[in-house]
Amino acid sequence: MSTRLANSGRLIDRSKPVEFKFNGKRFKGYEGDTLASALFANDQMMVGRSFKYHRPRGVVASGAEEPNALFNMGEGGRFEPNQRATTQEVFDGLTIRSQNHWPSLEFDIGAVNQLFARWLPAGFYYKMFIHPRPFWKHVYEPFIRQSAGLGQVPQEKDVDTYEHFYYFCDVLVVGGGIAGLAAALKEGQAGKKVLLLEQTADFGGRAVVDGVEIDGKSAEAWVQDTLAALNAMPNVTVRNRNMASGVYDHGYVLGYERLTDHLSDKSGPRHRLWRIRAGHIITATGAIERPLSFAGNDIPGVLLAAAVRDYVVNWGVSVGDRTVVVTNNDDAYRTAIVLKNAGLAVPAIIDARASGAGPIAAEAEKLGIRVLKGKAIAKVKGKTRVTGVKVCLQAGEGSVIEEIACDCVAMSGGWSPVVHLWSHCGGKLNWDEDLAMFRPDPSRAPTGADGQAFVSTVGSASGYLSTADVLKDAGLEVATNEVAAAPLEPVWLMPQGAGPKLRMKAWLDYQNDVKVSDVQLAAREGYESVEHTKRYTTLGMATDQGKLSNINGLAILSKSLDASIPNVGTTTFRPPYTPISMGAITGAARDELFQPIHKTPMFDWHDANGADWEPVGHWRRTYAYVRNGESVHDAVNREILNVRENVGTLDASTLGKIIVKGPDAGKFLDMLYTNMMSTLGVGKCRYGLMCNENGFLSDDGVVVRLAEDTWLCHTTTGGADRIHGWMEDWLQCEWWDWKVYTANVTEQFAQIAVAGPKARQLLEKLGGNMDLSKEGFPFMTYVEGKLGEFDARIFRISFSGELSYEVSVPASQGAALWAALQEAGKDLGVMPYGTEAMHILRAEKGFIMIGDETDGTIIPQDLNLQWAISKKKEDYLGKRAQERSFMASPDRWKLVGLETLDGSVIPDGSYVPAPGYNPNGQRNVQGRVTSTYYSPTLKRGIAMGIVKHGPDRMGEVIEFNREDGTMVKAKIVDPVFYDKDGEKQNV
């Protein structure tokens, strides 16, 4: 059984016991334990079920590479699926539940899949479930989905918070093992600004576990000294529990810092995502041990040799009482020795190498450990945990020589450098035949903005395995107590000649249930590219991203294709190194801070007075002011009628306002607008149209000439930044010799439209020093002065067809002016009105609306706006485009008014079918509605639309479609429905 040892455990604090729950059972652990070590301490061997066959699964590793031990963790707003037991530290009150089984971990219905295993090889679903057709969607797919999927679905809103942090350094060192520490020390001493990230809680990596001596002192001591030296340097920053999750172009790196995951106290941000810009990145990410491929290598109790060692040395737990070590290299002998010294039984070391190990073998044998050379495991015995192994010749086909009883198997197939970060931006690898590993090729490093390499590797990440070599690679010459190791012998299948039966039980990818036989099948069927094999078998696509399985898998593939491993190559390494929380990626940008809301100075008043908000770009505008008991629709109608009968106020502050000034400003505006703006008189206003270079309408608004060399251009809401940028683009990149300055002063002013027959009365009630009389202040002009106590500029323009003014005051005075207008207007029946009323008011007048009548494919001519297109100008932006055949065609749909015969409202987006069908069998069409409303003024549905030859078809009745398939009849009429002669706005 697995248990807590009486002593040892460098990471746990036996004075600080903690209690946690596993599947409802109470378990004990110590501070410093990982979930995995704590579960072993409680003899919990089986931790989950595999993806496809629902095979029993146990912990195989001790770090980020763990494929099996994933749990549903936490409760309610802190529930999270797929938490990795080997990287999650335990804390008091932690609760976890095992995954992917029903009804229980011990008895799982899904396990029947195992019986059919031989009929469920890689890609079986591509060959089955083809007939009958409906069955895929309704029968097969639901079944497959249910049996897959691992963890449960979070049900409640996340209660934790997250944040981001930008950090800049000369050198980023990734990894707090001896290589990383040494590299950081070197760079720090060279005066560089250094950041070192270690994903786990502690430093020292493997060396401290292996108990190496460096220059006479223990690795432990060496690490502590080096850390102390680093912490003493002001230019060096060292962070633990912070994983470099990805390397991105131009030296950008994400650091995933876990702040409270290991604590009972969850206050403060849970994760902090570091956005690091590093001049250079050194990855000292070490190496990961590889499993061996033998039958039953997935049974709980079969672990990586180094992991078994870690559990004893770091956490003081033994995985089993009797451990058989199976290996193709010397390092695993260390495990045997550690176990033996811990008083545990090691019945045998099974070494696949006929020549066996180097000097370390003698050490093991001295401790009484039996070493079998040239031998292999034919098969592991046991169902939910190991009970023994059958031994055979590595060279043979698996005929059993002897059986050894044991409850743990510690395997080592050699080591693979962690090259993920090196590879994210295209760092290339070389295959090292002797060490049987892919190593970074410094001559083909990822290159940055300057074309130079910006990532390098040190230590085991470069493929060095002895402590001396590792530190040498980091620039340190040291003496160690390590004995020379005998060369490893690549072993990709155990035994070498294993037949189909065994290969079907030899696992490569534990989580996704990919076996040796699956990869061989892929090869046989022509999925020869390693990328095809990956996608066909799902090898390496599980949550561990193949940290254990990829190399073994592609070795099997290369054998099957008899191509060399480098020729087969690896799959692409992609971020993140291990999965990172979506919460961390989101950071603080959630709820109120999800996106900026742009608020006008009158926002609070609107909000307090029934505003039904409408997002317009990032602005919030009032759609309508809804009074108690009123529907939004009622409110809109009330607001409209009140504008027609009395007076209304609209918050128009969001309209863009751009100052254009300079000797060439007139010339510039003539290019920008379709109209002639240079001839506009000072003090006058003119409605203008802007097109893009493609000829399509992009914006409109009133242009005001403030002075001889100064214009004020109004744009649509949300048009402000776009149009200002557009102006600057032309001034900087095309006409840079023109003398024009622009300034976007949109937010400097609060603007209020005061519209309705009583508009003038209302403004006059406020008093001030401006002549607002019909004569003194004619239509399409502006005045400037005091309106009551306000510093106002008033434009006499109308978008509603009523007598109307747009009052502009400094934003700081906006709220006060708005309040003053409501107050002064009480007896005039003033009411605020919102964007929907504004839309309908303008529609009743046949005014077009950018975004309704236009959609990015409409040219001014389509909307009969020729009057706004200057004939005198030889050029303006969009003119040439409008000369193209399709734009000049007389068959383009043109703007008309529409009046339903039955008074009903034409549905939004409705089209006008034409006789017949096109070659693709689609109904021909001859027009569509662009704006359609119920007009409370006219008490009927009104609409505008664009119709083929529309203006020539006045009076004709056409039909619009409805979603239910019926049609609405409407008469083509003049778009101006209300006050055709414009008398009302000129009073």
Binding site: T543, P579, T586
Partner: protein
């Protein structure tokens, strides 16, 4: 070809699946073919397949510089729908959808087409009008789509938050027939069928030059030598400009990176595809359980298949807002592809200035769903010189200003 069926699998199971034959041959190039298709992505393979199936043209080579299906076909988020606004788009995408509905049977390869339904959220009044316009247009195009209320939508997608403080869901455009398919299987199924018709799928063979004589194509030069042909189809997506340059003309195309990501797998929780375009994110759940997530493109020309992280951020932010549970999932993997964006964001299926060269490109961020229809139409164009389905997608439309703009009605790509 050995047909795939449950019986075949059963038989093979008994002999450890040692009897399966190759899904496709890996031949050496011949000296000459009637037709060469450059690019063994979905569109290239489908074009070849229908050339053979519909027109009996089987002396065809599909030349692929990498591994077949390794381009965007092998890295897309597999959204399939045909509820497009403009007639030419609706026509070709719906043709594709109809073919998808029988593709597994047609190819005798389960492409796992899953018509689980697709919803586009309307989160502003403008979007509501835009999608209602789409519903109306689709009705006349013979494409069944419907408008769903927030309440209906919540029933279809229990994990969604329709009362988001920022952009409450005001309804949605729902296409029941929309859904997903297994992207790799689409490429593999077509490749297997093409190979079975005697066509050569030639992988690891890069086209380096296009050879023409007197304004007519005569062949290509590749890393496996020169290969002659009478007709050449360029179907290389992100690399279209590179191929066009070899043939001496330019196209209205820019190549930019589009990214996607998957979460760790979880139990089934969303049986429909949801697109939230106001906030730039969309999500579906694969049969393996990962949430498959995508968003907007990068803005600069790029051939690296790597994108910029801030787009991933924007997308994840959007989805956490729309589906609060996403916050406690983890990102398992992110990747990018190089998409070919045209001047009006609609594809180009067209003859070119060079006699005998045809181009099928510009599918940008949304061409997976079009693969069968595009192949069908492209085959017709290459075989007969004309196809009603491709007519409007002619490359010369840009000269006349005759665009096919899908972005107009709050419409979007994927």
């Amino acid at each position: 070809m050995r047909r795939y069926s449950v019986f075949a699998v059963a038989r093979e199971g008994l002999r450890y699946h040692t009897g399966w034959e190759r899904a496709w041959r890996s031949p050496q190039p011949k000296k000459k073919y009637d037709v060469i298709i450059v690019g063994a992505g979905g569109h290239g393979l489908a074009t070849a397949y229908y050339l053979g199936k519909n027109y009996g043209i089987t002396n065809v080579a599909i030349i692929e510089k990498g591994w077949l299906g390794g381009g965007n076909t092998g890295r897309n988020t597999t959204i399939i729908r045909s509820n497009y606004l403009q007639d030419p788009s609706a026509a070709i995408y719906d043709k594709a959808l109809k073919l998808y509905e029988n593709l597994s049977q047609d190819l005798n390869y389960n492409v796992m087409f899953s018509p689980r339904g697709l919803i586009m959220l309307a989160q502003t009044h403008h979007e509501v009008r835009g999608y209602q316009r789409t519903v109306m247009a689709n009705q006349l195009q013979g494409v069944a789509t419907e408008w769903v209320t927030p309440e209906q939508l919540k029933k279809l997608v229990p994990i969604i938050n329709i009362h988001g403080p920022r952009y409450p869901v005001m309804g949605g455009l729902y296409q029941k027939r929309g859904g997903t398919a297994r992207h790799d299987a689409v490429a593999w199924g077509y490749a297997r069928a093409c190979s079975d018709m005697g066509m050569d799928v030639i992988q690891q063979c890069e086209v380096k030059g296009v050879r023409t004589e007197g304004g007519k194509v005569v062949g290509v030069s590749t890393t496996k030598g020169d290969i002659d042909c009478d007709k050449l189809g360029m179907v290389v997506a992100g690399h279209t400009s590179v191929l066009a340059e070899m043939a001496g003309f330019r196209l209205p195309i820019e190549s930019v990176a589009l990214q996607a990501l998957v979460s760790e797998p979880i139990k089934p929780c969303m049986d429909v595809v949801v697109m939230a375009n106001t906030v730039h994110g969309y999500m579906s759940q694969s049969d393996k359980g990962e949430m498959v997530i995508g968003g907007g493109t990068d803005s600069f020309n790029n051939y690296t298949q790597r994108g910029s992280f801030h787009h991933i951020e924007e997308t994840v932010r959007a989805l956490v807002e729309t589906f609060p549970m996403v916050s406690r999932l983890k990102m398992l993997r992110q990747w990018g592809g190089i998409v070919d964006m045209t001047g009006d964001r609609s594809p180009i299926l067209s003859k070119t200035p060079v006699d005998g060269i045809f181009v099928n490109c510009g599918w940008g961020t949304g061409g997976f769903k079009a693969i069968p229809g595009s192949g069908w139409a492209m085959a017709e164009l290459m075989a007969t010189g004309h196809s009603p389905l491709t007519q409007e997608f002619d490359m010369f439309r840009f000269r006349e200003g005759k665009f096919i703009d899908e972005s107009v009605a709050a419409g979007v790509a994927h």
